[in-house]
Symmetry: C2
Subunit: 213 residues, 2 copies
DNA sequence: CAAAGAACATACTACCCAGTATGTTGTCAA
DNA sequence: TTGACAACATACTGGGTAGTATGTTCTTTG
C-alpha cells in the first residue's frame, strides 16, 4: 500500500501527535509554533524535537496518523462483494462518520492536501508531502473506482468522474468544517447527520430510490 | 445590506488588494508576510501600510472585495419571479462559475471564514472578521431561503436545511480547490464544469428531471 | 552495580517579520 | 512660487520562532 503506516507510534509519540493535531486544527500549520504544541502537552520543545527532526516532520506525522485512521474506517467494507453501489453506501457512510468522530485529524489531513496543492515550501518537505498525498489519493481512488463501477452497473449516472468525485468528496467531508461535537452526545446523532449527507451525495451521483442506512 | 461595500477602492489600493489576494491564496494568511505582498507589487511595505493600518486590515480588505464580487454575480437573479427552483438554478450556476473565474478571491474569502470559525487572534481583529462573516452569512442565507422555498413548492426534498445547505455549498465551492485555469481557455469549458457541479447539487437537493442550463 | 543511552528540560542563537519613524518626491492649490 | 499634503521608500526595532547545543534524570543492560 502506497506510503502506508511504516511505524506504529509509541505512547509518548502518540500523545505528541494528538496535541499537535489539536493545535494545527485550531490555528493552522504556520500559525502554530512548536512551543504551542509543547505547552499543550505540559512539556517543552525538547520532548518534541527528540521525536521529530523538524516542525514539518511533526506535521507529516500527524498527517500519516490521520490518514491511517481514515483508512481504518473503510477497510472492513472496501472489498465487500455485491453491487458497487452497496459498497459505496457503506464506505461513504463510515467515511462521513469518521470525519466527525476524528474531526481534528481529518482537518489536519485536509490542510496537508491544501499545502501540497499550493506547493509546499522547501524541496525535501515537498518530497515527504508528495508521498503522503499519494497515500491520500489512493484513498480517493477507492471512491472513484467504486462510483465508476456503480455507474457501469447502471446504479449511478454522471458525466466526468474527476469532477463528480470531487463534488462528492467535498460534500462528504463538509462536516469537518461546521460539525461541533456536543458533550455527552450519542452516536445516533452523528449517524443521523451522516445519513443526510450521504443521502445528498447519493442522489447527487444519480442514485435512485431511498438509501437504507 | 449587512456590512456591504462602504468604499470603492481606488486604482492603487485595488492593485494592492489583488496582489494580496494572490499571496494569501498561495501561502495562506499567516505564512504570507507583508513584504511578500510588497515584493509582488514591485514596491515596499511603505506603500501597503500607507493604505492599510495592519496586515489583518489588509486581509479584511481582500475579504470584503471578494465578497462584493461574489454578491455581484448573483445580484441580477436573486429576485427573479417564478418558482424558487428556477431561481436556485440561476444563482447556483452563476455562483459556481464565479468560484472558478474569481478563484483567488474566493479562496481568500474561504480562509476568512475558516479563521473566524477557529476564533481569530486579537479581539479587535475579531470584531472586523465578525462583521465580514455576517456579510458572508447573509449570502448563504439567500441560498438557504431559496432551497427551503423550493422544498415548500415541492421541487426539492431534504430533511435538515442547515445540513443540506452546507453540503450543497461545499459542492458548489469545490472547484476553488481543484480547478486550474488553462491559458486561452474559453468560457464554455468553465460552463461545462459548472453545469456538472450544479447538476450534482440539484440532484442532491432532491430535484427531479434534468436541469437545463 | 556501573555505564551507556533514552527521554526529556534548559539555555541560547540566528533569523524573520509586523509595525513604526522618518526621509523623499511629486502634485496641486492659493 | 511655495507650502502643504499625498504617496510612497528607507531604515530601524522589538518580539516571536525554528532549530541547536548542552545539561539532567531515569531506565536498561551487561
Amino acid at each position: 500500500m502506497l506510503g502506508a503506516r511504516d511505524v506504529v507510534p509509541d505512547s509518548s509519540t502518540a500523545d505528541i501527535l494528538l496535541a499537535a493535531a489539536d493545535c494545527f486544527m485550531e490555528r493552522g500549520y504556520s500559525a502554530t509554533s512548536v512551543d504551542d504544541v509543547a505547552r499543550r502537552l505540559g512539556a517543552t520543545k525538547g520532548r518534541i524535537y527528540h521525536h521529530f527532526p523538524s516542525k514539518s516532520a511533526l506535521f507529516a506525522g500527524v498527517f500519516q496518523f490521520g490518514m491511517d485512521r481514515i483508512f481504518d474506517a473503510i477497510e472492513p467494507y472496501r472489498n465487500l462483494p455485491g453491487p458497487a453501489v452497496d459498497r459505496w453506501k457503506r464506505i461513504a457512510f463510515v467515511h462521513t462518520n469518521r470525519m466527525m468522530k476524528s474531526k481534528t485529524l481529518a482537518r489536519v489531513v485536509w490542510e496537508g492536501v491544501e499545502m501540497h496543492l499550493r506547493g509546499a515550501t522547501t524541496p525535501e518537505q515537498r518530497v515527504v508531502l508528495d508521498g503522503l498525498v499519494k497515500y491520500r489519493n489512493s484513498y480517493s481512488d477507492i471512491f472513484r473506482e467504486t462510483i465508476v463501477q456503480a455507474r457501469d452497473e447502471g446504479d449511478f449516472n454522471f458525466e466526468d468522474p474527476a469532477i463528480t468525485v470531487q463534488s462528492m468528496f467535498m460534500a462528504l467531508n463538509s462536516p469537518i468544517f461546521w460539525y461541533v461535537p456536543r458533550p455527552g452526545e450519542d452516536d445516533e446523532h452523528v449517524h443521523a447527520i451522516a445519513r443526510q449527507i450521504v443521502t445528498f451525495a447519493y442522489r447527487g451521483l444519480g442514485g435512485k430510490g431511498e438509501l437504507d442506512l
